[in-house]
């Protein structure tokens, strides 16, 4: 923060000691004013929570704010696109998805009836993979996995950046993970219960989520068992629009086992995958994805990381986040993802106030010191 306090030197008699006075300049307010208006014009946080802007149009009206009237041909093309997407692609995808979920629920429950043995585990994994592959086909997702040698191993934790709930499907297409989340009702709850029967997942009751120790303990127990599948966690805590990575919550980094970071980057030209949960619900979001052209993404597996000596959970989280952001080409922001819904803590404002007061008062301090110095060594005339 640049100092905008002006100092007025004036000499005293014959002496050459310069007494500087802290002068609060009426113009100091201009610094804050300018910063404020700059935030109004453009700020980092709002940009990360609204859908990305495309440079050229991809024939989806949802990608732009206003329909560009550029001629009959473009409108015709767009109309054709609508027909293809809603008439052919969407119904096919919905049918595939429904079939897939139906099959998955039935098979998973049946596998659950087998006695607890290697066979059950083996079949469970196969059923899960089948379910995910069905889902991926139903979304027509084109996924490229990079660095598969770094694929997460059993008994570890996998962290990834979060853009949409479908991230789970994208990742689980390649290998099985144990998911962590709240217990839901309805269709999602049914799927959750079916999943648990054939493979260990960690579902929390709503009340338990508040109890951090309970959450941490269950995660620890699961991770400690080296035969269990890796736990998939999204440390941001909320969906971000895939142009940046927000602050990672330290909970999963405190557990102390190996972390496998995974970076996911979607290609927005084929359809926007970001779930703006304040704008539309999950079903609407799924329909949007299914009526886009396709879901094209790249997944990078990063080499495993461990917490180093003398590093605390927060620093470790920052390190992982930086590596992840660098790999996927996303901006590394320090803002908390929770800002989507909550206000900024007053601590940030107090920090600004503190910086400004330091500048004003430091000058005050210097003046006092100079005064003391002056008193000790009086000038002779």
């Amino acid at each position: 923060m640049t100092a905008c306090v002006t100092l007025k030197p004036h000499t005293k008699g014959k002496g050459t000691i310069r007494r500087s006075e802290p002068q609060f300049d009426m113009g100091d307010v201009i610094y804050f004013c300018r910063k404020g208006v700059e935030s109004i014009i453009d700020d980092e946080v709002t940009k990360s929570f609204s859908a990305q802007e495309l440079e050229s149009w991809n024939l989806l009206t949802r990608s732009i704010r206003r329909f560009p009237h550029r001629g009959l041909r473009l409108t015709l093309l767009w109309g054709l696109g609508v027909l293809i997407r809603y008439g052919i692609l969407l119904p096919l995808r919905v049918i595939l998805a429904v079939t897939g979920i139906f099959l998955f629920v039935i098979l998973s429950t049946s596998v659950g009836f087998l006695p607890n043995s290697k066979l059950r585990f083996f079949l469970g994994e196969k059923v899960h993979l089948m379910g995910y592959r069905f889902c991926v086909k139903s979304l027509t997702a084109f996924i490229t996995y990079h660095n598969s040698e770094n694929r997460p191993k059993n008994g570890s934790i996998c962290v990834a950046n979060h853009t949409t709930p479908l991230d789970v499907i994208i990742l689980a297409n390649d290998r099985c993970y144990s998911l962590v989340g709240q217990v839901h009702r309805g269709l999602l709850g049914l799927i959750q219960r079916a999943m648990v029967k054939s493979s260990p997942h960690i579902w929390f009751e709503r009340a338990e989520v508040k109890d951090r120790h309970l959450v941490a303990k269950r995660l620890c127990d699961h991770a400690a068992d080296k035969t269990k599948q890796p736990i998939l966690i999204f440390p941001e805590g909320t969906c971000v629009n895939n142009t940046s990575v927000m602050m990672f919550k330290k909970g999963s980094f405190e557990i102390g086992c190996t972390i496998f970071p995974v970076a996911i980057k979607y290609d927005f030209r084929f359809g926007d995958a970001y779930w703006n949960s304040s704008k539309f619900g999950l079903v609407h979001h799924l329909l949007r994805i299914m009526s886009s052209w396709a879901l094209v993404c790249s997944v990078w597996y990063l080499p495993p990381m461990n917490r180093e000596e003398g590093e605390d959970a927060v620093q470790f989280a920052k390190r992982v986040k930086a590596a992840l952001a660098a790999q996927a080409g996303l901006a590394d922001l320090t803002w908390d993802g929770g800002l989507k819904r909550t206000k900024v803590k007053d601590a940030f404002k107090e920090e600004q106030q503190r910086l400004y007061s330091e500048i004003l008062l430091k000058v005050h301090q210097t003046q006092k010191q100079e005064k003391c110095f002056e008193d000790e060594t009086p000038e002779g005339d």
Binding site: F32, G36, Y356
Partner: protein
């Protein structure tokens, strides 16, 4: 850049300021950490109005445009928003909330309190305010008028301080 391009970009930003009632619950996070964020938002709204329309929004932002080179036709026009006087007027109105044309001691104290918060004591705050008023108040009425404000800032480089380059 044409006006249409400008309005396109600003539309989105503009939505965030729409309702004055949203003041305590800022939608722009970085503005919340600004000590005078509330005043800046209030400056966009003319007095007694609850809604902001797009032309007024642009008019306020015009204060932050760089001061153009002197052209002969500019002298014929009334004071523009981005002239030195226009910028000073905007800064003046950040202090002068009741729009009586003078910055009273109380108004100055309010701004100081906002910018410094709990970091300084009440006495320090008062002494800083006293000193500022003594320095600037030339006619001795205990308040700072717009001309006195202009005078106290005559050495400040407004052209650079209150300048934002929009639209790269």
């Amino acid at each position: 850049l044409s006006f249409l391009e400008c309005s396109w970009r600003f539309c989105g930003r503009f939505k965030a300021l729409w309702m004055k009632a949203a003041l305590p619950d800022f939608k722009i996070r970085e503005l919340t950490e600004n000590p005078i964020g509330g005043r800046i938002i209030a400056a966009f709204f003319p007095p007694e109005k609850e809604r902001l329309d797009f032309p007024s929004f642009v008019r306020i932002l015009a204060h932050f445009r760089p001061i153009g080179k002197n052209r002969s036709r500019d002298r014929a026009q009334p004071e523009q928003a981005n002239s030195r006087t226009g910028k000073l007027k905007f800064a003046f109105e950040l202090y002068d909330q009741d729009r009586d044309g003078k910055i009273s001691r109380e108004e100055l104290l309010q701004v100081l309190r906002a910018m410094l918060g709990l970091q300084v004591t009440e006495e320090q705050l008062r002494s800083i305010a006293e000193r500022a008023i003594q320095e600037a108040d030339l006619d001795g009425d205990g308040a700072i008028s717009f001309d006195e404000f202009k005078k106290s800032l005559e050495k400040v480089d407004m052209e650079h301080k209150m300048n934002i380059r929009f639209l790269k």
